[in-house]
Amino acid sequence: MFSSGLFTETFMVHAWMGGTMVAVLCALVGFFVVMRDSAFVAHTVPQAGFAGGAGAVFLNVNPLYGLSVFAVGGALLIGYLGTRERNDVATALILVAALGTGALFLGLTNKYATGAYALLFGQLVGVSSEQIVTTAILSLICLLALAFLYRPLLLASVSKEIAQSRGIPVRWVEMCFMVIVGLTAAITVPVVGALLCFSLLIGPTAVSILLTSSSEKVMALSLLFSVLTVWLSLILGYYSGWPIGFFVSIIGAILYLAARSIKLFRYKTRALFPHHAR
């Protein structure tokens, strides 16, 4: 069914590993991103990494360090500045400021610096084995931290007041979550790029919440969708030679539309039998 290179070529093996890890991480972090209505943050944080990359090129250090510093720093700043109501404004301004700083670094660099742009795209077919190891370790750390924060974070996302009244250090929990988002971006962007990082954070959970409302099921479903999306994209990308990013976002969109129509259908049946629906 599949030509053998799909699973045996070293770069494809690396792509499967890296892609799967990133898909798992993004699906779980994405659950909370959607829960907290932070789609914009998920878009911003990976992009803020660009400025870090540009800065690293300017200072002649490893772009990955720049990326990590700016992604985590940007996430923390958003967490610090953003209140619940005006979160989007703070996020937008942080994004703009980060990109502006990127422009400065690019502008001051004398040499060819478009490697900073390359950071935004990532290279799923160019993942080294060292990168696999770092990705694995950092993903594990992120997932453990997320598991540790799980219940308080969930409660704080539902109602800050209740969480505070229960003695949860809400501010601290939220900041930790922002660090997790920043780290996720720093892990994911070099593997699949800023665009896919964003798609994977938002897409699978957005699809899942249309199908079920139980937290656990949403998480399980989005994990499934996320991993499936990446795998399918890898297969399609391998045979067509088209960019994997395109497939990930298009599969995400198709899943989303499908889920929406399922929901619409269910809604109509529910209207006919109102008491059996739930």
Binding site: A147, V158, S159, I162, S165, S213, S214
Partner: protein, 281 residues
């Protein structure tokens, strides 16, 4: 109504001489409140009277400038654990991935670190409490799509699962229609009585509470008065509290609190609270 003071020497909540000052403005002045197990207390006051500040003090989210707060027995330091809190309203997107059941379960262990482990006990307690608040019907629907009254019930169930000695409800009635408001009050008072939980219910309108309240805390201008309804709603007492003449009128079996001096203000009283009651005071 139950006899609130009989045989219960230890208050479950004691506020002594609480004052809160922001800059130079006094928001609360020497407030003294004692709440005993099983009581239903209405915390009544108009906007700006200091209700939310008092609430924050009780919850331990705000330390008062002066005075002491004691929750539970005298030696118990873990105030917040003994307090079930029901916020005014949830601000949730309609598609938030959370069922009513999940929300209620957070009452059980939402403050603990780590992932919840599946246990039958946990499931049983959640189902039990959902039955108790009569919310089992919509427990599997997304929280964001429920009505205000339905959300309110879930929040109450959530708060009850913390095994509180005090249930604190912040203006639960302000977003509800008359029928839901009535149901929520009945529910809370029934559960409070059954389990011996003290209920503090914040409201700016005391009408719906009159049948179930044991005592009332009346807040005006940062000052608080606590007592039974006939003791508080007296012209001399309230005049003293407001610092200007107020009259409590009994019109056809109803109580009206009418601001005295300001009748010249277009013929309307500046502040009037109209109380309805079956009891003749």
């Amino acid at each position: 109504m139950m006899d609130w003071a009989a045989g219960k020497d230890d208050p479950v909540l004691a506020l002594d001489n609480i004052s809160v000052q922001f800059d130079k403005r006094c928001v609360l002045k020497n407030v003294n409140i004692r709440v005993y197990p099983g009581e239903f207390i209405g915390l009544i006051g108009s906007n700006g009277a200091g209700k939310s500040t008092l609430l924050k003090v009780i919850l331990g989210l705000l330390s008062p400038t002066q005075g002491t707060v004691q929750v539970g027995g005298p030696a118990d330091g873990k105030g917040e654990r003994l307090m079930g809190y029901v916020p005014q309203k949830l601000f949730l997107a309609p598609d938030i991935p959370l069922r009513g059941r999940d929300l209620v379960a957070l009452g059980l262990d939402g403050h603990r670190w780590g992932i919840p482990l599946f246990s039958k006990e946990r499931k049983r307690r959640v189902s039990e409490i959902l039955e108790a608040v009569d919310a089992a019907r919509y427990a599997d629907a997304p929280v964001g799509q429920l009505s205000g009254g339905e959300q309110q019930r879930l929040l109450i169930a959530q708060a009850l699962l913390t095994d509180p000695q005090i249930l604190l409800l912040d203006e639960p009635l302000s977003n509800l229609d008359i029928k839901s408001a009535y149901e929520v009050i009945q529910l809370v008072s029934r559960i409070g009585r059954e389990k011996g939980i003290a209920v503090i219910l914040v409201a700016h309108d005391m009408n719906p509470l009159l049948g179930v309240m044991d005592r009332v805390v009346y807040l005006a201008d940062g000052k608080a008065l606590m007592g039974q309804i006939p003791d508080v709603f007296r012209s001399d007492v309230l005049s003293d509290l407001y610092g200007y003449p107020v009259e409590v009128l009994n019109v056809q079996g109803r109580i009206m609190v009418v601001g005295g001096r300001n009748f010249e203000n277009n013929g309307y009283p500046r502040e009037a609270i109209c109380c309805e009651s079956n009891e003749v005071l």
